[in-house]
Amino acid sequence: MSTSHHPQDEQSPAPTAGLESAARRRALLKGLGKGAALAGSAVPLSSLATGGQRPGMRLKKTDGNYYYCSVSGNGSIMLSAGTSTPPTCVGKACSYYKKDWYGKFSTWPKNVSGQYVCIVGSNGYPPTTRFCDIFIGGTTKTIGDCVNTASPDDNSHWVTAMLNATVCASTFPYTTTEVLALYNDSTQRTAAITFFKNYMATA
């Protein structure tokens, strides 16, 4: 198998541009491995970034920059510079849902009895509920313990996303049912938690 090179003309890339692209290409894939590279390409990130009913939202990434998000016809994210400023699509960080000074999860939603719960669909789960009783196959730690930590892990971020879907319902792109569906979809789970960690924990 050979590669071809075209004679230079004003429409072809300059030699240095080609060298830069080659260097970029190698850097992008260096250390990635076939499995990781192909797994990432199979999950359309746009389906996560524009989930629910909020296309055209503005996202703030953990790098501090804003990106305007809408869906292209091909399923890739289209981040448009735009002149208008749409509302920011955002959620709270995990630390927001930790116990307060009095040992209560006072930032969690309340049920009709005034108890702090994590709402999933039409159910309200107290902090003592095991993670695996909501997110099937997950850890046996309680959802309260998952967020009440100085070192949040993926379990922490799932619970955070679920809480955000209620607490930040006006700005969070997914409902509680949709968050659960993303967890239960093995083809979406990795990309979903990456999206929640990098974009939806910035408030």
Partner: protein, 94 residues
């Protein structure tokens, strides 16, 4: 003769890579896109010179330290289709 594609003349792309994310500003439309590393690497291939799908598969496999196979080829096909739809690449027969 297998299809070959090249970066469309007049397409100017300005890339920025952050580990698992690559963001690119396409000057003509003024739009910004985000791609995973594999898609960004595929476009980088076309920015070097024209390629067929076989050549693309071989190059990407080489960069991944893997043998070129149908799995890699199958992963590259929709990416090439996407860049064609965006108008960033064109057939060399054009």
């Amino acid at each position: 003769m297998p299809a070959r594609w090249r970066r469309r003349p007049g397409i100017e792309l300005h890339w920025r890579d952050w580990g698992g994310d690559s963001v690119v500003f396409e000057q003509r439309s003024g739009h910004t896109y985000q791609f995973a590393p594999l898609a960004a690497a595929v476009m980088a291939c076309f920015e070097e010179h024209d390629r067929s799908l076989d050549e693309l598969t071989f190059q990407i496999a080489l960069d991944l330290g893997s043998a070129p196979d149908n799995e890699i080829r199958a992963a590259l096909e929709p990416i090439v289709s996407e860049f064609l739809s965006l108008g960033w690449i064109e057939s060399t027969d054009a």
